[in-house]
């Protein structure tokens, strides 16, 4: 008899709670909901792979089903697994290939930075992307930095890291590396302020977009590479990341979905706000000034999935002068590369509508969120600037210096 890989579907008691909380089945009847696409169909698929239903592809892997499940069924994982086990890619798709290789696309993007940003804004270019690559023309695409964070760090910041007593590894992820240099430098500055010297490893993409696009082998390769790079020379320092989805991959998906042994990094890795919260609680709080800012906070799905929400809110509550409006937890709809695909763009936008309305009603000055793709989605659909919690702390530190 075959030994089944993931038998958590057997714990499903058919309560349908997951379907009540699924943002996709809320917006489109094309997706039958996580219960049916996941645990229900899994038994049939095991019996006969021919029974696979192509509606699986609508799942965004936001993991809200897993958050709501009272029986610990790994619904999203079952769906992701089935998606790529049964719905094999029949032909090469350049779009999915490039989109999932965020580090490759990023390298090109930054290499040609002013040029690539210019071209990606041209209507003609957008038209071609829409027609040939099926990347919707209305979608705002991420901007590329002129230089990568890792280069910038090595050139301008690495030297001074020796001056601090403690050491920390920073897993910056592709977004910081190619698109948001500022968040990277803010993070290093904040950690330096708390007497932590920062090191970076030779990292590759964490694998989240690869998993979402079906490149499981490549994702496994990246996972192995990252685990090795992060434990090089028996390194035992703590690892922080400013991306909630990267953290979730490192601590959860490597082991449970890719079946890679991540024990050497598991207990050392945490999302940045959890690390900050622990430090703050022990009294290691950087000098912060009153920032006098009214902000709405949106909680990303993948952060909630790791139970990380209280740490971010906890840290934000310690910033003087920050008036925080915590929005009701709702998916923004972009779900990584999902919202960049023409066939899902409409669904993705519809899912986010509630959140955008909430933000408009809250009338904040800025929106705070932990996730880079949530940021893109909110900035595209509302008139507000979206800032990472770490950058808010950096702002407060600067405000403290001015006085």
């Amino acid at each position: 008899m075959d030994k089944l890989k993931n038998i958590s579907f057997d714990h499903c008691i058919k309560c349908t709670i997951c379907t009540m909380y699924c943002p996709v089945s809320k917006e489109t009847p094309l997706f039958p909901g996580p219960k049916q696409a996941g645990p229900d169909s899994e038994r049939l698929r095991i019996k006969s792979p021919g029974l696979v239903d192509s509606s699986l592809k609508y799942c965004t892997n936001c993991k809200r089903c897993e958050i709501s499940c009272p029986s610990d069924v790994r619904i999203a994982e079952i769906i992701q697994d089935a998606k790529w086990r049964y719905l094999k890619k029949k032909f090469f798709r350049p779009r999915d290939f490039f989109m999932s290789r965020t580090d490759l696309a990023g390298r090109f993007g930054t290499l040609l930075a002013p040029l690539s940003n210019f071209f990606l804004k041209l209507d003609l270019m957008r038209f071609f992307l829409d027609i040939f690559l099926k990347i919707p023309g209305k979608r705002t695409l991420p901007k590329y930095n002129r230089t990568t964070f890792s280069k910038y760090f090595t050139k301008y910041m690495a030297e001074r890291q020796k001056n601090f007593t403690r050491e920390l590894l920073y897993f910056h992820g592709c977004y910081v590396n190619y698109n948001d240099l500022r968040l990277g430098t803010d993070t290093v500055d904040v950690l330096n302020e708390m007497d932590y010297g920062v090191k970076i490893a030779d990292e590759k993409c964490c694998g989240v977009p690869l998993i979402a696009n079906g490149y499981i082998e490549k994702a496994t390769k990246n996972a192995l590479h990252n685990i090795n790079a992060l434990s090089l020379n028996d390194c035992t320092s703590r690892i922080v990341s400013t991306s909630s989805s990267c953290t979730f991959a490192l601590t959860h998906e490597y082991e449970s979905f890719l079946k890679v042994d991540n024990s050497s990094i598991l207990n050392r890795t945490s999302y940045i706000t959890r690390f900050l919260y622990e430090e703050f609680s022990e009294g290691n709080i950087p000098q912060m000034g009153n920032i006098g800012l009214r902000a709405a906070y949106h909680s990303p799905c993948h952060l909630e999935r790791q139970g990380g929400l209280i740490y971010t809110i906890g840290v934000l509550k310690m910033i003087p002068g920050l008036e925080l409006i915590v929005l009701n937890s709702e998916c923004c709809g972009i779900s990584g590369t999902y919202g960049f695909k023409k066939e899902y763009y409409g669904i993705s936008q519809k899912i986010g509508e509630n959140l955008f309305r909430q933000i408009e009603l809250a009338e904040p000055e800025v929106v705070i969120t932990d996730c880079e793709t949530c940021k893109m989605q909110i900035e595209m659909n509302t008139r507000y600037r979206v800032i990472h919690p770490v950058s808010i702390i950096k702002m407060a530190i600067e405000r403290g210096r001015e006085i």
Binding site: I13, C15, T16, I17, T19, M20, Y21, S25, K26, P29, L30, P32, Q36, E66, I67, S68, C69, P70, S71, D72, N267, S270, R274, Y277, E278, S281, E304, R305, Q306, G307, G308, L309, I310, I313, G314, V326, N328, S329
Partner: protein, 427 residues
């Protein structure tokens, strides 16, 4: 992390306690692992529906008064009548401020009507749920229309009507049965797939088709002044959906609770959580508490799956993890465990007596009244030592049978509230 109050379990007991604590100005966090069992409930709150002999109870407080002698370890006996009244009134008030009006029959029970057409005693019902009080609103001889939506898989109006006709209250009533179908709805249906309550509730919630629906209702229901539908008339917008349908049809529109996923249960859950959030409570929706660190008679901190090496400490803790279904209690071959802290539990040593052979036994199944032992003030007991800052509430408690008594909601609210009062230093 340091809190005034950490609550383990996000069900009705945990939320009641949480709301009370934040209202009193305590920094409170609720840890929840998956959604609570309100999603399986009818959305009504029972206090005490049946007495020891299994007879329907009309005056729950009279019956609870007797409990002190009959079963002094019962949670109601421990908290006392005053506390029960105070806590039920507290939650009714909080809910009504959040826009959720609960119907009651003074201090007596009333009867809500299930989707099988059976009348069940309950203490608080959501205002749109069909119950014995709703009948007083209309002429005694008007017919009742029992309607369904075509494509809804979890409801059969024929059964409702057949059972209602057995009841003296409805013996002489005329019933009209019918299905509402809409073109737009049919498009939403996949070939083999049919609607669940939540799919239809979302369509109602959008309020887009209410005019058309009202026309159909009027066409089918004829002379009927009362129209019942399964409980899917909107989720967040349920009040305005119901009001608009009443205005458009000129009829009394009521809902019958359906099989899970339960929309009235979902509304109650949303309302309680919203109250908690708005009051400033913190809610962790996906983290399991795995253990605690005790010294002497005190619980110092707890660890969760994601908390890392630093535990979460608080002045007071509450355990409201529910019963067997929610994993608050587990059973091995010879004993009943409380898996988070390993608290002392009450159960029958003779395993043969854990359940009754008759599934529908009027005396209930003994295992349903197994659970954790507590002191008279609901503090937990571990290795026969009382833990002074760990309270227990809800269906994790022993010595009562929520199914047989019809007392689940009431006990959860009362014990959650009582525990909160203790934490806020007022009992």
């Amino acid at each position: 992390m340091k809190y005034d109050c950490v609550i383990i379990g996000g069900g009705i007991a945990g939320l009641t306690c949480g709301i009370r604590c934040v209202r009193k100005g305590l920094r409170t966090v609720i840890f929840s692992n998956g959604m609570n069992s309100l999603h399986f409930s009818s959305g009504s709150i029972d206090l005490l529906g049946y007495d020891r002999e299994g007879r329907k109870v009309h005056s729950p407080f009279t019956e609870i008064q007797n409990m002190k002698n009959q079963n002094p370890r019962h949670p109601y006996a421990k908290s006392g009548i005053d506390k029960i009244v105070e806590s039920v009134d507290f939650i009714t008030r909080e809910l009504s401020q959040e826009g959720m009006i609960m119907t009651s029959n003074g201090r007596e029970n009333h009867f809500h009507i299930t989707n099988l057409g059976v009348m069940k005693p309950t203490y608080l019902s959501q205002e749109n749920i069909f119950n014995s009080e709703s009948l007083n609103m209309v002429k005694s001889d008007c017919p009742i229309a029992v309607l369904n939506f075509s494509g809804f898989r979890d409801y059969f109006p024929e059964l409702t009507i057949a059972n209602l006709k057995k009841n003296n209250l409805f013996k002489n009533r005329e019933f009209i049965k019918g299905d509402i179908s809409l073109k737009e709805f049919d498009e939403k249906r996949r070939n083999h797939e049919e609607f669940r309550s939540v799919d239809i509730a979302r369509i109602f919630n959008s309020e887009r088709y209410l005019n058309k629906i009202a026309q159909k209702i009027n066409k089918i229901s004829g002379q009927a002044e009362i129209v019942t539908l399964p409980s899917f008339l909107g989720i967040e917008n349920f009040r305005s959906v119901n009001r608009k349908l009443r205005e458009l049809t000129g009829k009394e529109i009521y809902e019958l609770p359906t099989l899970p996923p339960s929309i009235p249960g979902l509304r109650l859950d949303y309302a309680l959580k919203n109250i908690f959030y708005k009051a400033g409570g913190e809610y962790v929706s996906n983290d399991r508490v795995i253990c605690g660190n005790f010294s002497g008679r005190k619980l110092n901190y707890i660890n969760t799956e994601n908390s890392g090496k630093y535990g979460i400490s608080a002045k007071n803790f509450m355990l409201a993890t529910g019963s067997f279904l929610s994993g608050g209690l587990t059973g091995s071959y010879s004993r009943i465990h409380e898996p988070v802290f390993g608290l002392d539990t009450f159960y029958n040593q003779d395993r043969g007596r854990w359940h009754s052979k008759d599934f529908f036994d009027k005396n209930g199944h003994p295992f349903l009244s197994f659970g954790v032992e507590t002191s008279d003030s609901f503090t937990a007991i571990k290795d026969t030592t009382e833990i002074s800052n760990l309270f227990c509430a809800g269906s994790v408690l022993a010595h009562y049978d929520p199914v047989k008594e019809g007392s689940g909601g009431g006990v959860a609210i009362t014990t959650g509230f009582t525990a909160a009062s203790q934490m806020t230093g007022k009992f």
